[in-house]
Homo-oligomer: 355 residues x 2
DNA sequence: CGCCATTTTGCAAGCGTGTGCAAAACTTTC
DNA sequence: GAAAGTTTTGCACACGCTTGCAAAATGGCG
């Protein structure tokens, strides 16, 4: 065990380096010395699959325990080709769906022996770029991008530095990343037929103005499916994909001349906003006067004030697919296309059918 | 620029090491060579405050740009006493309040030039311990614990390895960490007087069975304040601090003989559950028949289905305090005691007064 | 016991960086 | 133009670890 000198600059003209003997760290050398073996033996003891005799391993482990030794991953990452770090790039990560995904990813990564670094891409003021570069500096093995925000240049930057990349619900046309997407089109079709079976005829689609591919896919799928049945759809796009936007859209729709009797909201949060506007400001009863479907199946959808019928994000599957590709390195498959089943609650009239 | 050899073991009896020339990394040496200077010069160029002539700096920067050089933080962390890594220890991080806190912390840490590692402490099956050790391996400069779960032993482990520690709403009696707490007692007192002013007399407190100090402080404060006014409080503790528990408690309270006309819920989520039970299962009107106050002021509290009057967590202040202590190293102050003001919405009768 | 095959071990050379030290280059002053 | 002062530079060691290689130890077998 060796005391490490920490240097502290004084502010006077002459710069004096002071030794503050306050931090103690244990290195493999210390353990080796105590166990009476070479440093290599210590290293091998902590390297799965390396060749060490049982006796040596025991002695090393004992010494390590006694001294409180931890392998220094920074140093290990320097030698090995992998650092064990996986970087999660997220914007608006306090959104229920995103938060759930981050939690699940982090948990599963931990089980796989990886550690997750969190990058927040909220502001586009350059701090994002800084932070991402920061990650590159840590030689992350991989990045998982759940955010709509960071642009292709960044994806490319990560790729170039040798990272594996997983894109969740994005579609950057870059060769290399593993893509996970949902069958948004199918879901939209299911929504339309559910509305029709409930006897709805004046359909509307509430979208944000963000224009993310997956959001647009839902919109286009819904419009197309409705057209197949000879119905038009009122499409409204507004603001961000949040509660407040849904509320605004609700006000627009229900103060119009031909208010809809069924709305597919691109997102649960927007559905809540729209429902609240419809109920509390326009006296609509749900599902009697109005049917609503959302997307994501966040926790709040189960709350009895909403009881929202919605498509559920297969979070577990998304996570499993991501980690499997990252860890097991099955570089053959380049994308996964997952199904989002409809969860029936109380915002569509009539009985459920398999959909 | 040097090609790095990546070793891949084949599965045949004889282990053959194959060279896959696929990853390119740029080191300071490469940059030095190209710029025609020593490696030290490169290092100093990327070290703020180091002594380099303007001319050299220019040449280095140019070469670095051309080659796409990034300082390797792993190596830097090895030399310097600090790694730039801050570890966030969180359980149930998809809970609205926690998610918001994590987002804010991450964002602010980024601005301070730090990077955050996320540790999930949900299961107590040992994976937590593994993950935390993992972090120690990365020589994190600091840890911020927002979780109720990890026990004192872990806190101590982090401290011993030289980390700075911030405890948010916890109270491990260990010397060293920086503690941030709210004036839960004051809030409880404010709640009581708000209820009294609204004419409520049958008070109840809805708590979880978790028993976290801050939650207990709210309960005790509420009971004490009520007693000062000569009132008893029905206290119910159940389950986790979540929606479902609030609902269960609601059912218990309103199917009892003396149902309350005012409930202080230890947490917004529980308040929602309780409100939903009261309204949809017992036909209570809020705030006419029942007044409710929550704690946290999460996003959902502003939704018009709830419009919950609640105490707001001063997230920004919490974050500012944490980061300031971590970064500027003001080791003098050992704790912060923050105020949680009441946000008036529509779950308490009558007009607002300053409280 | 001696020979060969196998496992275990220590040595030493890296990995990419920071930084004290002394030499070199430059600047100022007389 | 030389001496003294200041800034810049390169060398070389350190950080804590992994791992190829060859030497040492171990085991098997006749």
């Amino acid at each position: 065990m060796r005391r490490r000198a920490i240097a502290c600059k004084l502010r006077r003209r002459t710069e004096i380096w002071v030794l503050c003997l306050n931090k103690t760290f244990v290195s493999a050398d210390d353990v080796a010395k105590r166990a009476g073996v070479s440093r290599s033996a210590v290293s091998r003891t902590f390297t799965p699959g390396a060749s060490v005799s049982e006796e040596t391993r025991q002695r090393v482990m004992q010494a390590a325990e006694a001294l409180g030794y931890h392998v220094n991953q920074l140093a290990r990452g320097l030698m090995r080709s992998e650092s064990g770090i996986v970087c999660l790039v997220v914007s608006e990560m306090d959104t229920p769906y995103r938060a759930r995904l981050v939690r699940a990813l982090t948990h599963e990564l931990q089980l796989a022996g990886k550690i997750s670094m969190l990058i927040n891409t909220d502001r586009s003021d350059g701090s994002v770029d800084t932070a991402l570069r920061q990650t590159l500096h840590y030689r992350a093995d991989a990045s998982i991008l759940l955010s709509g925000l960071p642009d292709k240049a960044i994806t490319k930057l990560c790729l170039d530095s040798g990272q594996r990349i997983v894109l969740i619900n994005r579609d950057d046309e870059i060769e290399g990343p593993f893509r996970i997407n949902l069958d948004d089109g199918v879901a939209a079709r299911v929504a339309v037929s559910a509305f029709l079976r409930a006897g709805c005829r004046r359909l509307a689609f509430a979208n944000s103005a963000v224009g993310t591919p997956s959001l647009m896919a839902r919109e286009q799928g819904f419009v197309a499916a409705a057209r197949d049945f000879g119905l038009d759809v009122t499409v409204v796009r507004h603001g961000n994909t949040v509660y407040e936007s849904g509320r605004t859209i609700g006000r627009t729709l229900f103060s119009g001349l031909e208010p809809p009797d069924a709305v597919f909201c691109v997102n649960d949060l927007m559905a809540f906003g729209l429902m609240d506007a419809a109920r509390h400001e326009f006296g609509r009863r749900i599902p009697d006067d109005l049917c609503v479907v959302g997307f994501d199946d966040i926790e709040q959808s189960g709350w009895s004030s909403y009881a929202l019928t919605t498509f559920t994000q297969p979070v577990d599957e998304i996570v499993r697919n991501s980690i499997a590709w990252l860890v097991n390195g099955d570089a053959s498959s380049r994308s996964a296309f997952l199904h989002a089943p409809l969860i029936w609650r109380k915002t569509i009239r009539g009985t459920r059918r398999n959909g």
